[in-house]
């Protein structure tokens, strides 16, 4: 990554950066695992933090070594991470996060470095993949309530001339706000939807973990 010091146009994501994103996401998820599980215990089945910790730990273990990262495409890194998450997570977040990362990886295609616009396209592909699989819309109290505003905020920042780091920061902030906005929502997907109006008044665990994954992207793109 270079040329993004002022948050101006520029900044690129290579395979090492993609791997750093997954590692940072794993760190944040592991640090917050207990909080995520507590949130899930209120309206879900009480395993979200534990499951995601297991999934992202497997994703980190599946990352290629440093020598290989110098040779491969960032898209390939995300696809490998997604596959590991699907395999090892155990709950609904496995297929959902796995699909999100695999779609992001496919969207990056064969580029050896993704520019800011390509990362925006990858975020959009993540939203579409999760919506296709889980059939959730914004307002259903799911990870989409963090992911969709994040992708939109990223695109808006890019249109306004921001580079990768600044756009990723805008996405992470929008994901935080989107997650916070799930508190009054009534769940329409997953176990929480069985509770009807009793699902209101709680932060959605999936939206909360999604915000961590977006924060991880902002952290690694903002490092250099």
């Amino acid at each position: 990554m270079e040329g993004d010091a002022e948050g101006q146009a520029g900044g690129r994501l290579d395979a090492r950066d993609a791997a750093a994103w997954i590692r940072r996401a794993a760190e944040l998820v592991s640090a917050e695992a207990e909080r995520l599980t507590r949130l899930d215990a209120a309206i879900g089945d009480g395993d979200h933090g534990h499951n995601l910790h297991r999934g992202f730990t497997a994703a980190v273990a599946a990352l290629p070594g440093e020598a290989e990262l110098a040779e491969i495409r960032p898209g390939k890194v995300l696809i490998a991470a997604g596959r590991a998450i699907v395999s090892k997570t155990g709950g609904a977040s496995g297929p959902l996060y796995g699909t999100a990362l695999r779609r992001a990886g496919k969207a990056l295609g064969d580029a050896s470095e993704a520019d800011a616009a390509a990362v925006g396209a990858a975020l959009k592909a993540m939203v579409e993949g999760v919506q296709e699989l889980g059939q959730a819309n914004e307002g259903d109290k799911t990870m989409i309530d963090a992911l969709a505003p994040a992708a939109a905020a990223y695109a808006t920042a890019l249109d306004g001339g921001a580079g990768l780091a600044a756009a990723a920061r805008a996405a992470a902030d929008a994901a935080d706000a989107g997650a916070a906005a799930t508190v009054p929502m009534q769940a329409r997907k997953g176990r929480a939807s069985y509770l009807g109006p009793r699902s209101t008044g709680h932060l959605d665990p999936g939206a909360s973990s999604t915000a961590l994954v977006l924060r991880a992207l902002a952290d690694v793109t903002g490092r250099e």
Binding site: G90, G91, P95, R191
Partner: protein
């Protein structure tokens, strides 16, 4: 013959439903359970589900039935990743759908008919 795979959060639930469905399939239908996570706990494992699809696949296609949540999402991912295999998910209750599907599969019917039989199971009212 069409094979049937049962994806459930519980290993014992999937195995027990498979037992009943096999009986209804008069011992002919291939019904394979894929229950629990990779460590035998509650959850879903796409690896177990893929293995079950391979066991159930006799060359005439495979019908998936799933209980809830991650089981359904895992079934959808198997379909997305299917490499030329004929594979469908039934929008059906697990027990009733498995019994209907196994009964139909045992007649030698093709995948669309077995899928339709499983989905029709939700219309069999109990009261």
């Amino acid at each position: 013959m069409v094979g049937i795979v049962l994806i459930s959060h519980s290993r014992t639930l999937a195995e027990a439903v498979a037992e009943v469905a096999r009986a209804m399939g008069v011992g002919k239908a291939a019904v394979e359970p894929a229950g629990g996570d990779s460590e035998g706990g509650l959850g879903t494992s796409i690896d177990l589900a893929e293995d079950a699809v391979r066991r159930a696949d006799g060359g005439d296609g495979v019908l998936l039935l799933a209980d809830i949540g991650s089981s359904v999402l895992t079934a959808k991912m198997l379909i997305e990743d299917a490499d030329g295999e004929e594979i469908m998910l039934a929008d059906a209750p697990l027990v009733e759908g498995a019994i209907a599907a196994a009964s139909m599969a045992a007649t030698g019917a093709g995948l669309p008919a077995v899928h339709a039989a499983a989905e029709a199971a939700r219309e069999h009212r109990k009261t």
